[in-house]
C-alpha cells in the first residue's frame, strides 16, 4: 500500500471529525482515555475524551499518570490493557444447549454478532501484537471464528510512538516506534509553535475513503519533517533494550539455568504479565449448567500458564512450581513461539515489566540468562 498512500494533516477538529465519522458509520470507537489514575482503553463517543495533556511515567512495577507541558493526546505508552481485551475478550460464550421436556437436545452456536471496532491510537508495538495474534487465532487449521470476525471488521488507526516510556523496548524487538504496515490510517502527532496537528497517511482503501470525508490540509514539509524527527527521537529514547542475542537459541539452551530459581523467588505467580501481554492468547473452556439441568453453556475464558489449573491433568498440575511456570511463560514467549508461529511472542511494549507488582523485568532476565550461558560452569567433581 506504501506506494499509493495518501498523506494529509489533521488538526484537532479533524480528529474530532474522524471519530464522528467512524461513529456515524456505526463503528464502536475504542481509544485511550483517562480513568482511575491511568490511561485506559475504552469506548469513545468523541475525540474530546482522548487524554490530551496527560503522560505517564513507567518503571518496573510502577505506573504513574502525569501532566504534560503540552496538550499531546498520544504521548503515553504501556497502558494497563491491550487491544486484545476487545479482539480476544476475556470471556465469550461459544455455544449453548437446551433439553426440552421430551428430552430433545438443541445445540446452538452462540457467538454474538461481532462489533465493527475502530481502534484509535494503536501503537506500532501493539500493531505488531495484533499481527501476532492474527497468526495464532485467525489462521491455521482451527481459527477462532469470533476473533477472526471481530478482526476482519476492525478499522485500525495507528499512532506512531513519539514518547516511549521507561519500560519500552520496541526498537530492540524491531516493532517500533514507526509503523510500516497493517493499519488503515496512521497518525503521527506533532505539537509545535505552529500548532497541534496530526500527520496522517492511509494504509487501506477503507482508510482512503474515511480520510476523504474529513476536513484536512495537505501534508506540508514542516509537519512531515517534525513528525519523522519526533519518531526518530523516540527510537533514541527507549527506556530498555532486549539484549541482542538469538533469543530462540538462548532460551532453548537455558532450560536448566540457575537463574530460574532466582526469578521464581521474586515471582508471585499472580498471572499479571500474561494478562497484560498483548500477544498471550491462552484460554480455557468451561461448561456450565443451570439449576434445572436443562440448559448448558460453553464459555471460553482467558487463562494463564501461571494458573495451577492450567496444567492440571489427572493427579495434579504438571507445572506445580513457580520456577516451572515462569520458565514455561518466558521460553514460550521468546523461544518456542518461533517454532510455532515463526516470530517471537514479544513485541517490546513493556507491559509485563510495568504491570508486574514485583517489577520483574523480562529484558533483565534475558541479560541474566545470557550472562549465565556465557559463564563456563564449574566441572562437577568426579
Amino acid at each position: 500500500m506504501a506506494g499509493t498512500a495518501t498523506t494529509a494533516v489533521l488538526d484537532r477538529a479533524g480528529l474530532d471529525a474522524l471519530v464522528a465519522a467512524l461513529v456515524a458509520d456505526g463503528r464502536t470507537v475504542v481509544g485511550p482515555t483517562v480513568r482511575d489514575g491511568a490511561i485506559v482503553l475504552a469506548e469513545l463517543s468523541g475525540a474530546g475524551q482522548l487524554p490530551y495533556g496527560w503522560g505517564v511515567e513507567l518503571d518496573a512495577g510502577r505506573y504513574r499518570l502525569v501532566r504534560r507541558d503540552d496538550d499531546a493526546a498520544f504521548a503515553h505508552s504501556g497502558g494497563p490493557q491491550s487491544w486484545k481485551a476487545f479482539l480476544h475478550p476475556e470471556r465469550e460464550r461459544l455455544w449453548s444447549a437446551e433439553r426440552a421436556a421430551d428430552g430433545t437436545l438443541t445445540v446452538r452456536a452462540d457467538r454474538a454478532e461481532a462489533p465493527s471496532y475502530a481502534f484509535l491510537g494503536v501503537r506500532p508495538c501493539d500493531l505488531r501484537a495484533i499481527a501476532v495474534q492474527d497468526r495464532v487465532l485467525a489462521s491455521g487449521h482451527y481459527p477462532d471464528s469470533g476473533y477472526r470476525e471481530r478482526r476482519r471488521r476492525a478499522f485500525l488507526i495507528a499512532a506512531e510512538c513519539t514518547e516511549p516510556a521507561g519500560t519500552c523496548f520496541c526498537v530492540s524487538m524491531g516493532s517500533g516506534p514507526a509503523v510500516d504496515d497493517g493499519y488503515d490510517l496512521a497518525l503521527t502527532e506533532v505539537v509545535s509553535a505552529a500548532g497541534h496537528r496530526f500527520l496522517v497517511r492511509t494504509g487501506s482503501a477503507e482508510g482512503e475513503r474515511i480520510l476523504t470525508r474529513l476536513p484536512r490540509l495537505p501534508a506540508d514539509a514542516e509537519t512531515t519533517a517534525l513528525a519523522s524527527a519526533a519518531v526518530r527521537r523516540a527510537a533514541e529514547r527507549m527506556g530498555r533494550a532486549m539484549p541482542p542475542v538469538d533469543l530462540r537459541a538462548l532460551m532453548g539452551a537455558s532450560l536448566e539455568a540457575e537463574r530460574w530459581d532466582d526469578v521464581a523467588a521474586r515471582c508471585l505467580t499472580c498471572g499479571n504479565c500474561t494478562l497484560v501481554c498483548p500477544t498471550c492468547f491462552c484460554t480455557t473452556t468451561e461448561e456450565v449448567t443451570d439449576l434445572t439441568g436443562d440448559h448448558t453453556e460453553r464459555w471460553q475464558r482467558w487463562d494463564s500458564c501461571f494458573d495451577l489449573d492450567f496444567s492440571y491433568v489427572h493427579g495434579g498440575p504438571v507445572r506445580a512450581s513457580a520456577r516451572s511456570r515462569y520458565r514455561q511463560w518466558l521460553t514460550h514467549k521468546l523461544s518456542t513461539w518461533y517454532d510455532q508461529f515463526g516470530s517471537p511472542g514479544c513485541v517490546g511494549c513493556g507491559r509485563c515489566i510495568a504491570w508486574c507488582p514485583a517489577g520483574i523485568d523480562i529484558t533483565e532476565e534475558v541479560a541474566a540468562f545470557r550472562a549465565e550461558s556465557s559463564t563456563p560452569r564449574e566441572e562437577a567433581p568426579q
Binding site: 512495577g61 494478562l275 468451561e286 482467558w302 494463564s304 501461571f306 510495568a354
Partner: protein, 255 residues
C-alpha cells in the same frame, strides 16, 4: 415447589460464625424456588423451624470449630452427610476468630467473662477440614452468591464446580480494573489471594484484604517486601494479614 421424596436433601449447619454465609443462600432470591424444586431443604434453622432428620445428601457448613462440643458435632454432621461443603472464611480457614490462635486464650477468658469457669473453648479456631474430610471448600467473607449457586448446581449435576483457583489479579484484569499497587502504590493482597469475589475492592480503588484467603501456591513471602516498599511497617503488615483469614495467611509467611 413440589419436593419429591426422591429429591436430594440439603442441610445447613453452623459452628462459630456470623451467619452471613448461610444468609447468602437465602439471598438467592431469584433462584430459591428452582433450588427448592431440585432438592429438599431438610434442615436450615435460619430459614425454617421445620427440620427433617438426616442423613442428608448435601451438608453446607459455615463457621469454624472452636469448642470441643463443635468438634464432636462436626464429626456427627460428617457421618450424616453424603457431601460436606464448607462455606466461607470461618469454615475454610478459622475466620477472624482465629486471631485467638496467636493469643493467650486463657488470659482472654479470665479478662472478658465474669465466670470464666463456665466457658469451655479450644485454644484455636480451626477450619472444618482440620477435623473431618470436606468434599468442597467455598471461600469468601462472605461467600459469593453466584459461586454458591455454581457449587450447588455442580453437585446436583454431578460435575466439577467451575470455581477458579487463581489470584484476584485475574479478576482485576478481566474486568479492566487498573492495578492499585502498580498505578497508585496501594498495598494489595490480590496477588496472593484466591479469586472469587470478582475483585470488588480494587474496583473501588482500595487494596484487596484477602477475605477469600490464600490462593493455592500462594506466595506471601514474595509479597512481603512489596508491602514494605508500599509503605507498610511491620505492625501494618501484621494487621493486613490478620483479618478474615488470619490463620491461613499466618501459615503462608511472617509479616
Amino acid at each position: 415447589m413440589a419436593t419429591a421424596a426422591t429429591d436430594p436433601t440439603l442441610a445447613v449447619f453452623k459452628p462459630a460464625s456470623c451467619d452471613g454465609c448461610q444468609l447468602t443462600l437465602l439471598n438467592c432470591e431469584d433462584e430459591l424456588l428452582t433450588l427448592a424444586d431440585r432438592l429438599a431443604i431438610a434442615h436450615f434453622p435460619e430459614a425454617s423451624s421445620a427440620t427433617a432428620p438426616g442423613p442428608y445428601d448435601i451438608a453446607l457448613v459455615e463457621g469454624s470449630v472452636t469448642t470441643s462440643a463443635d468438634a464432636e458435632r462436626i464429626r456427627a454432621i460428617r457421618a450424616g452427610a453424603r457431601h460436606l461443603i464448607t462455606l466461607g472464611a470461618c469454615a475454610t480457614s478459622g475466620g477472624i476468630q482465629a486471631l485467638r490462635n496467636f493469643a493467650d486464650v486463657d488470659g482472654y477468658r479470665r479478662t472478658v467473662y465474669a465466670r470464666p469457669d463456665c466457658i469451655t473453648t479450644l485454644a484455636t479456631s480451626a477450619p472444618v477440614a482440620e477435623h473431618v474430610r470436606v468434599d468442597f471448600e467455598l471461600r469468601g467473607c462472605p461467600i459469593d452468591r453466584g459461586q454458591l449457586l455454581e457449587v450447588l448446581t455442580a453437585f446436583l449435576t454431578g460435575r466439577k464446580p467451575d470455581i477458579p483457583n487463581h489470584s484476584v489479579c485475574f479478576a482485576c484484569k478481566r474486568r479492566g480494573t487498573v492495578c492499585v499497587t502498580v498505578a497508585h502504590g496501594t498495598p494489595c493482597l490480590g496477588p496472593v489471594t484466591h479469586a472469587g469475589c470478582g475483585a470488588i475492592c480494587p474496583a473501588y480503588g482500595r487494596g484487596c484484604y484477602g477475605c477469600f484467603g490464600p490462593k493455592p501456591d500462594s506466595r506471601l513471602p514474595v509479597l512481603i517486601p512489596l508491602l514494605r516498599r508500599d509503605g507498610m511497617d511491620a505492625l501494618a503488615r501484621e494487621r493486613f494479614q490478620r483479618t478474615f483469614t488470619a490463620a491461613a495467611f499466618a501459615e503462608e509467611g511472617e509479616p
